[in-house]
Amino acid sequence: MSLVLDEPIMATPPRWRMFLLRLLRNRSALVGGTILLLLVLSALFAPLLAPYDPFKVNPIQRLRPPSWDHFMGTDEVGRDLFSRLIFGTRYFLLICVVTASISASIGTLLGLLAGAGSRFVENLIMRVIDVMLAFPYILMVLVVVAILGPSLWTGMVSIGIAGIPGYARLVRSAVLTVRREDYVLSARALGASESEILFGTILPNVVSPLIVYLAFSMPLAALVTSSLSFIGLGTQPPAPEWGAMLVNSRTYLFSAWWAVAGPGMALFISIFGLNILGNGLRDVLDPRSGR
């Protein structure tokens, strides 16, 4: 009983265009993608968009509520909050890119080695991964911060490192599944070398789960990095990083709620955008996992 026979037969467009089309038709991907696009634009054109210098202290204008001059109000030293939020997008995206690059590159490499390497290599890598996973995520981060000392970069590096085991496990299990597939066996039968098989045949086939995982781990990494800044172990004030902006303003929660709400909402909306973009990507790339 075939239910798909009556689908119109189209000339198949290139794979990436099909992918993009399906993504555009997915509502959560569309909303998430729009939020991400706005973040990128704001980061690129921050100096043009921001009405004030984000670092300019103005003691007379301390803790002003939202108004026409400062439509998100000012913080405890009179800096314009809106301008600081605009520049904060740069930090947010930087954090996403740096943490994800560290975890994804090292994690994928370890996962590939564990999945395709010798038994000894696999055991060695997986034991190390097990130990890393025995630490709750935040503890892993704190260990690294404790060693390197608190700053934006150590925060990002530590969260990048803490994300490695997740990628390694994902890629390894994907590799183990793909390795049994016929096309890998046939590549081997045709005389491809191990590294050709690993990077030429196996890697392209684990890309889909990798992208989905990336989409979900990025907002998590951003969330933890800002938390780290918030408890004073990440980005240090006066940098306009959203988490760090809350460090001082939380003291004024009772008198100036906007100074807390602004950066908080900025974080929430950005992370929400990445999360639903992840949902959309998952629906498009891995239709079976649908709800």
């Binding site: 034991r127 190390v128 097990d130 130990v131 025995a134 630490f135 709750p136 995520y137 935040i138 503890l139 704190l142 260990v143 911060v145 404790a146 060693i147 000392g149 608190p150 907002p219 969330l223 800002s226 938390s227 918030f230 408890i231 004073g232 172990l233 988490g243 809350l246 939380r250 929660l253 009772f254 709620w257 807390v260 709400a261 908080g264 974080l267 929430f268 992370i271 929400f272 999360n275 639903i276 949902n279 709800r291």
Partner: protein, 310 residues
């Protein structure tokens, strides 16, 4: 069952050694060691050098690393976690009551997370595609995107500042309410997502249809036939969630001035008090390990199929 537990315990050995090595290495990798940091600028060069040498000897910092590691493990086995350089007292003294506080906060949050998360997830699954499901799913998505610290601040803002239902500096049990709510509601989000998915999966199984065919009402189907199966899946998540709760506690504690190990850890790292940091990391990792072990054993006990597959 005993065999299963023994097996799980054996698997823990390399992990425990790994954790000990990592916490130990923390000290070894630190650029300026703690003793130097403590006395820098306070004494004359010569006196400082002497004092440092004595202290270095006292903390075995002059020995090769493997001997230091051996001494470290030996001391731990004797319950000696070292002295806090900043607080100038044994680490255990400070850690004890703070550990209890953190456990209280974690358990209270876990309770809230389970009650809210399971209820929302199961109702959403049973009333699939209804307005209730849509609401629960959306709120859940908000929940996983919400930084715990911002949510904590929002709770204070709403309940203490705007509504004035709670004092700004609550005492006693009230002091637990907001931090536990902040953590618990955030963690309820992933729990509700998993509860929903696994409940939907279980409700589509043959044995549910078979039970329906012999006259089980829809309520009975959900509560007596589907729930035990769905809970097993949720349980595996809860083991991992404890890690998140512990992590979340580290951040939430400092907002609500809850005197737990999280608040202490943040301070210890800023003080560069490594004995203290080390001990907190160690004790948290150990707690996490034990919790996951218990979750695994509980899992094997609840699910009759597990023993065969291990």
């Amino acid at each position: 069952m005993t065999q299963y537990v023994a097996k799980r315990l054996l698997l823990l050995i390399p992990v425990v050694i790994g954790i000990l090595l990592i916490t130990f290495l923390m000290k070894a990798l630190i650029p300026t060691d703690a003793v130097t940091a403590m006395y820098s600028g306070q004494l004359s060069e010569k006196d400082a050098a002497e004092a440092i040498a004595t202290l270095r000897a006292k903390y075995h910092l002059d020995l090769p690393w493997y001997q230091q590691f051996f001494i470290y493990v030996r001391d731990l086995l004797q319950g000696d976690f070292g002295d806090s350089i900043r607080l100038r007292k044994p680490v255990m003294e400070e850690l004890g009551y703070r550990y209890v506080n953190t456990i209280i906060l974690t358990l209270a949050s876990l309770g809230i997370a389970l009650v809210v998360g399971l209820t929302a997830g199961i109702l959403a699954a049973v009333k699939r595609n209804s307005w209730l499901d849509v609401t629960a799913t959306t709120v859940g998505l908000f929940g996983i995107s919400m930084p715990a610290f911002f949510f904590g601040l929002l709770l204070i803002l709403v309940f203490a500042v705007w509504l004035r239902w709670l004092p700004v500096v609550p005492k006693g049990n009230l002091a637990l309410l907001l931090p536990a709510l902040a953590l618990g509601l955030i963690e309820a989000a992933p729990i509700s997502q998993v509860a929903r998915t696994s409940m939907i999966d279980v409700l589509s199984r043959d044995y549910i249809q078979a039970a329906r065919a012999r006259g089980a009402s829809e309520l009975e189907l959900v509560v007596r036939h589907a729930l035990p199966n769905a809970l097993i899946v949720v349980l595996t998540l809860v083991g991992l969630q404890i890690g998140n709760l512990l992590g979340g506690a580290f951040i939430i504690e400092s907002i609500f001035s809850w005197h737990g190990i999280g608040e202490l850890a943040v301070n210890a790292i800023q003080w560069r008090d490594f004995a203290l940091t080390q001990a907190i990391i160690l004790i948290s990792a150990a707690t996490y390990l034990v919790v996951n072990l218990v979750a695994d054993i509980l899992y094997a006990w609840l699910d009759p199929r597990v023993e065969l597959s291990t």
